[in-house]
Symmetry: C2
DNA sequence: TATTAATGACTGACCGGTCAGTTATCAGGA
DNA sequence: TCCTGATAACTGACCGGTCAGTCATTAATA
């Protein structure tokens, strides 16, 4: 009864956590926290359900790991972009817009956004981490950039934090639209084009002079 | 053994469905579909769990009723606003902005938005209804208004559907921010002020001339 | 051979949905 | 006005399926 071919599993302690988190991201993003089945996560990660508990204590801890995992690289990217452009505001905005447009077309950020929005009440600690370490920082960085541009006289008067929200909101809404309505037949948006058009619209709308080009 | 005081329940067939839907809205908004308990909905509606099944077949049907209930008045409002302003674009935009700003400050629309986003994959029919009867229509109405203004030469060139998304996205994001992050300590936005500032920003950004005032 | 990664059948709690029984309400008769 | 059935709105204990989490056992590897 011993098939001499492939062994029925391999011992790969180092690789498992990453594979489990990746599988969990996909399942949580598709189903939400409560409707996600540990059996499905395990199956997609190529392990049994029991193996999950060698690396994580509870379902909630897996969820937390997924959220944490999704934060780090994004925060790094945002910091790098803002730091790379102390110069004139239009240049910063166009660079950020282009980068984000390309990013959201490829990275599965949408699933995580949905997850955090949908489960925020049930897991306030997760909402807090996501806010403190990503949302508030990204919004803060953009707010600072806007405020600096206002001081330089480039950007007209107005609440800089609201300007920051106005800048990023359509991109996030575009992602939410894609995740929520496109699967049921909605006309999709070209998110890169949306990012480009919105940056130009906002530049015309925010700049003190018409020296936008 | 018969206490002569208050009866332990009353027969109020006409009022029950509305009360159940209102209670369900609150619980679904707080917990999401899966984590919402029928016992809690029943308790908040002031009935027993069994009574729910006198008026609804399943939990999902209650969910559907909540979503349907939230759609009708909003759609009516949007239609009325766009119909009331065939005239110059800035006037329409300011009217819509003011109305929406006031509305989202008061109406519990946020919970429903979170619900739909969070449960779209698990209940595609609900996402479809929400899209077909609200999101697509609202976006379409705004798109038509933008396109008409472009034809009149008021609004610069650009994808009108993207302009429409750019217009409404910050308001929706403001609501999501309030529902998701403010409960864990985030700095809130003044949504009316946000609506006002965004309308002015977008007018400056979209209009062909600087004849905004 | 010793060690431990990995399995998967199992358990127990939880919750959507049911239904036999209870009680408010009211029409009609005295 | 007070009783008295008839009706159906309402209750809440219960059932059965589902699924997160456990653990005795098996198998890969050093």
């Amino acid at each position: 009864m011993l098939p001499p071919g492939e062994p029925k599993f391999r011992r790969r302690k180092a690789a498992r956590p990453g594979e489990i988190v990746a599988a969990a991201l996909a399942v949580f993003a598709e189903r939400g926290f409560a409707a996600a089945r540990l059996d499905e996560i395990a199956a997609r990660a190529g392990v049994s359900k029991g193996a999950l508990y060698l690396y994580f204590e509870t379902k909630e801890e897996i969820f937390r790991a997924v959220v944490d995992h999704a934060i780090a690289p994004n925060m790094q990217m945002i910091r790098a972009m803002v730091a790379a452009h102390p110069g004139p505001f239009p240049a910063l905005l166009r660079a950020v817009g282009e980068r984000i447009g390309a990013l959201i077309e490829t990275v599965p950020i949408g699933g995580v956004v949905k997850m955090v929005i949908g489960e925020a009440r049930n897991f306030p600690e997760i909402a807090r981490v996501w806010h403190d370490e990503l949302a508030a920082q990204a919004l803060g960085a953009l707010t600072d950039a806007v405020r600096a541009a206002q001081v330089r006289g480039e950007v007209r008067v107005g609440d800089p934090r609201m300007f920051a929200l106005e800048l990023i909101a359509p991109m996030i809404m575009g992602v939410i639209w894609r995740e929520t309505f496109v699967p049921v037949g909605a006309l999709p948006f070209d998110l890169s084009a949306l990012a480009g058009q919105h940056v130009e619209t906002m530049l015309h709308g925010m700049m003190a002079t018409e020296a936008v080009a």
